[in-house]
Each structure stands twice: as structure tokens, then as C-alpha cells.
């Protein structure tokens, strides 16, 4: 299965994370839901859904954390019967990104946490300064999202 | 090795003339391809029709040995020698079998005769050298050593090969340097003489977990090498992954003790060598056998096979 990215700098860190942690699915996104890179999905609509849900969960969890302990929750982990989900913020200059990952029997939470630390370091070094939330909420956001998805799924 | 077309041709000849001696070539070709059930049927039918031919009994013996039926193999070779006392292949085959069973006096007698028939056969020379290194036979004709205890696998599992009770080699014998055996014609026989007895198995796997050399038979004679190799090569992949992040250098040995068997592995070129032994065998001993198997694999690969 191929890794697909909307920006070149995403490829190396995301590939390393997917390979080392043996993730079945991985998506790097902006908290607004804008996707920067993905592995494991075959349809753009699934990526959009995952990003939207991931961003919403992160926002809700953040607010819940603020209500409970005065600061947002960080990493979130859900252990299902066969699959597990890992959602965590990734700090970059000028902003925060989100990594959503799904893994199964070939991996473990410990391994994902371990390789997520490597991923954080790699992204912090490679990512250009984020332009800020304003650009993500700009009127051409939908167009930007569609362009990213088209680039990743080889259309247009 | 014969291709499928050649085998088909010989099958057609045999079908047209069941009394044809082509069964000898056909049976051998099937044996080399690992189609032991078919080889067995061809050999058995051949012996029924040609009971007075020592070649027919020799073929049956070789197939039986590959299937792990050593009692049958021994009986067939003895039949061949009863018909033709100087039959070189039967002398060699039975000689090796008795050697592995620890009946050194009888093994030596047969292998000396085989060597006289073919002085250039280095595998025979090596076997004789090992017999003499073991100090020859005891008064009872058997090598010293405790009687074997076969592994007791968990219910429902497959035991590692232990179809014949054989005494193990002495520690002294294991410490002796492994003579370099000539390139065997069958890659499955590469580790034959570095293993103490039939309860041990060794495989050389490539980087993809595919079997390159060695054999691994279950108690029912089925060839399990591919399955076992694929499962266990995944463990070495995991070890390699771990080493990248643990900062302890490259891995050199990996050992797994399980309920029914102990397995030791070591890198070998781009692949790995693994040795499996019954659980009762001390891990240190398995490790020594592994080191010998690694050396054997290295020499075999360097020989250009």
C-alpha cells in the first residue's frame, strides 16, 4: 500500500513511523481537518471522514481536559478487540498537527508511543513554519483540501 | 534436476509398460523433487515387480529414509545387500544409517566397502573419519551415550523429528572440528552430518524466510521446513527491528525455549540459520550445534552452490 503526501517533507517521517510502528493506517493532519499525508486508505472520502472525526475528537478531548484539569488532554488511545487507535498532537513551529493511527496485533501501544517520539522529532525538524489558523480557515480551504486529496490520490 | 516434462514422459512410459525399469529413474526424480508419497508408490510397485533387483530395494530404501521411516529403509537396504553383497549404493546408504544410529562397528564395515568401490567419495571418507574420531565402536558396537528420550509435544502440536531412538553424540565428538563435507547433491542434506541425531533439525533461510537448505520433518514424515522456516524467520525480523533502536549492536544469536522444543538462530549472510532440538536438550548444546550449522552453511554457500 502506498504512502501519499500533500507536501514532500511529510513523506520520510510518516513512512518511518508506519514502517517501524507497523501501523495499518496513519494520517497526519491539521487540527482543522486538512490532511497532509496518509497511509492505509484507498478512498479520499475515507480520509476526509477520518480527518474530520479525528479533529473533532481532539477538539472535544481538549475541551474536556480544560474543564477537568485546566489543560487539554494530550495523547488519546482507544483499545478495541482487534484494533487500537492512537491520536496525538505533533508540535511544529507556529502550530500543532495531529497524527491519527490505527494498529493491530503486529504492534503495541508501547511501540507506537516509542516510534511516535521519533516521529515528533522528525516532523519538528522537517516541517516548515505553519502559516497559522487563518490560512486553514481561509475561503479557499475547501479548494486547498480538494487539491491535497487530488494530489494524493493521483487525480487532476 | 529433471523437469516436469521429463517426469511426465517417464510416467507415460511406465503407464504403458508397468514392467519397465524406468521406475528407477522416475522414483529417484520424484524423491529429489520432494514428492515422497508418489516416489514411495513408484518404488513399492517397482519392488513388487522386480523383487530380485537390488536397485529396486535401494530406491525404496532411499525414499523410506527421506520419509523418516528408518526401519523400512534399513530393511530395504539389507534386502539389496542380500541380493548383491557388493552393491555400493546400498553399502553407503546402510552405512550412513547405521552411523547415525550409533552402530559404528557395522557402519564402519559397510563404509569401508563403499569406499573401496568409490575411493573418491568424500562423504564416505568424512563419515569414516568421524567414526574413527569417536574412537571406533564400543564392545557392544554402539557409541557411548545415554539412551534418548523423545520429546513429548503438547497435544495437537507437531513434534520435531524423533522417529527413531538414537543415542546422542558425546560432547567430545561435538567438540571435534566439523570436516568439510563435499557439496551434497540435495540441498536438504547440507546439515546432515553436523546434527547429533534425527531429533535435531537445521535450516538455512533466506532474507524472505524461504528455505535454502536443510530439512525438517514431522513425525508423520511430512516436510514442514517451509512452514517452520516462515514462522521462525519472523522472530529474527523482529530481533533486527529491535536492534535498530536498542543501541546494542547487531544481533548475533537468538534462542527460544518452548514447551516441546528449543530453537536457536543466528544470522548467516543475508538470511539466518536455525536449529531446532527437543526441549530436553540443554540450550548450551543447541547453541553449539547452531555454531556448527552456521559454519557449514557458510562453507556450502561459498562452494558456489
Amino acid at each position: 500500500m502506498k504512502l501519499q503526501v500533500a507536501a514532500d517533507w511529510v513523506e520520510a517521517p510518516l513512512k518511518a513511523f508506519v514502517d517501524d510502528a507497523r501501523a495499518e493506517i496513519a494520517v497526519l493532519m491539521h487540527p482543522t481537518g486538512q490532511v497532509l499525508g496518509q497511509f492505509g486508505f484507498t478512498r479520499s472520502v475515507d480520509v476526509q471522514t477520518a480527518c474530520a472525526l479525528g479533529a473533532a475528537i481532539y477538539a472535544s478531548a481538549g475541551e474536556l481536559g480544560r474543564q477537568m484539569q485546566g489543560r487539554p488532554f494530550g495523547v488519546m488511545h482507544y483499545a478495541g478487540k482487534d484494533k487500537q487507535v492512537f491520536l496525538a498532537p505533533v508540535a511544529i513551529t507556529g502550530g500543532t498537527l495531529l497524527l491519527l493511527s490505527v494498529f493491530g496485533e503486529e504492534s503495541s501501544l508501547g511501540l507506537v508511543q516509542l516510534y511516535f517520539q521519533d516521529f515528533q522529532r522528525a516532523v519538528a525538524q522537517a516541517a516548515p513554519p505553519w502559516q497559522g489558523a487563518e490560512s486553514a480557515l481561509a475561503s479557499d480551504f475547501e479548494a486547498e483540501l480538494n487539491r491535497n486529496l487530488a494530489a494524493m490520490f493521483g487525480r487532476g | 534436476m529433471m523437469d516436469a516434462d521429463e517426469i511426465r514422459l517417464m510416467s507415460d512410459v511406465l503407464a504403458a509398460d508397468p514392467a519397465s525399469l524406468v521406475f528407477l529413474q522416475l522414483g529417484e526424480a520424484l524423491r529429489r523433487q520432494g514428492q515422497l508419497d508418489l516416489a514411495w508408490r513408484v518404488a513399492l510397485r517397482g519392488v513388487e515387480r522386480h523383487a530380485q533387483r537390488p536397485d529396486a530395494h535401494d530406491l525404496l530404501a532411499r525414499v523410506a529414509a527421506d520419509r523418516g521411516d528408518f526401519d523400512r529403509a534399513r530393511a530395504a537396504w539389507e534386502s539389496a545387500l542380500a541380493l548383491a553383497p557388493g552393491h555400493p549404493a546400498a553399502q553407503k546408504g546402510l552405512g550412513f544409517l547405521l552411523f547415525q544410529q550409533g552402530l559404528l562397528q557395522d557402519a564402519e564395515r559397510l563404509l569401508v566397502a563403499a569406499q573401496a568401490a568409490d575411493p573418491g567419495d568424500a562423504s564416505v571418507a568424512n563419515a569414516l573419519a568421524r567414526i574413527r574420531a569417536l574412537g571406533g565402536a564400543t564392545a557392544g558396537g554402539r557409541a557411548a551415550g545415554p539412551p534418548p528420550v523423545g520429546p513429548t509435544p503438547p497435544r495437537g502440536s507437531v513434534a520435531i523429528p524423533a522417529s527413531v531412538s538414537r543415542p546422542s553424540r558425546t560432547t567430545q565428538a561435538l567438540a571435534a572440528p566439523v570436516p568439510f563435507a563435499p557439496t551434497p547433491t540435495d540441498a536438504r542434506d547440507v546439515f546432515l552430518d553436523v546434527l547429533p541425531d534425527a531429533s535435531h533439525a537445521a535450516l538455512l533461510l533466506d532474507a524472505d524466510g524461504l528455505v535454502v537448505a536443510g530439512r525438517y520433518r514431522g513425525p508423520d514424515g511430512r516436510d514442514l521446513a517451509a512452514d517452520v522456516g516462515a514462522q521462525l524467520s519472523g522472530v529474527s525480523d523482529e530481533a533486527s527491528r529491535a536492534m535498530r533502536h536498542l543501541d546494542v549492536g547487531a544481533w548475533t544469536h537468538l534462542a527460544v525455549e518452548a514447551e516441546a522444543a528449543s530453537v536457536a538462530m543466528a544470522p548467516s549472510g543475508e538470511g539466518i540459520v536455525l536449529v531446532a532440538a527437543p526441549r530436553r536438550v540443554p540450550l548450551g548444546f543447541v547453541r553449539r550445534v547452531l555454531d556448527r550449522a552456521v559454519e557449514r552453511a557458510r562453507r556450502w554457500l561459498e562452494s558456489g552452490t
Binding site: A79, S107, S108, L109, G110, L111, Q113, L114 | P153, P154, S157, V158, A159, I160, G218, L224, D227, V228, Q231, L232, G234, V235, E238, A239, R241, A242, M243, H245, L246, D247, V248, G249, A250, W251, T252, H253, L254, A255, V256, E257, A258, E259, A260, A261, V263, A276, L283, G284
Partner: protein
Amino acid sequence: MSSPYGGMLAGLIRHRGVKGCLVVGERDGLIVDSTVQFGVNAQTFAALTASLFRKARRAAQAAGFGDATFVQLEAERGRVCAVGRGDLVLVVVAEPRVNLGLVRVDMLKAAERLS
């Protein structure tokens, strides 16, 4: 942190050459308790060794050898041993000079106290 395994780990790390001992969850690779020398990354050893042990366990069962009880990995500059019981794995990290036989015996005894 106080856990039922503190005494066990303290006993194991007293072996010459042992640099760290951990009790780890086999499935998640997370540390339950640990005693490690300075410079040993406990989280890394925990996650990777638990994964290795789990892999060995599954491979041994699939190959018909039964349940794996002890895994030992030797590398150029160190050794890692793991013993499993239930859903926990006892891990020892050691230098190459460690007396592996002694450590193995003590690990197998200690593992009986894992629950």
C-alpha cells in the same frame, strides 16, 4: 512506585552485568515496574522486548513447539532475556559478560511470582 515486583527486580539487578530489569505488559509493551541503571532507556527496552517475546510466542505455537517460555537475544554489545507468564513479561537487560545461565535460572524462578 511500589509494586509487588520490586523485590524480584531488586534481586535480579544484583547480578553482575545486569543493567536493568523490567516487568512489562506483553500486549501493550508498557512498563508495569522497572529497575534500571542510568543510561538504560526502559521504555524502549520494554516495548521492543515485549514485542519480540510476543512474536516468539506466536511463532513457536504456530510451528507446533508449544508455548514459548524463555527468549534470549544476544547482540554485539548486550543481551536481553525475557520470560513470560500470563500477560506479563519479565525482561532483563545485560552486558555481554553476564552469567547468562545464572540469570536464566533466577528469571525462571522469579517469573513464577508474576501474576
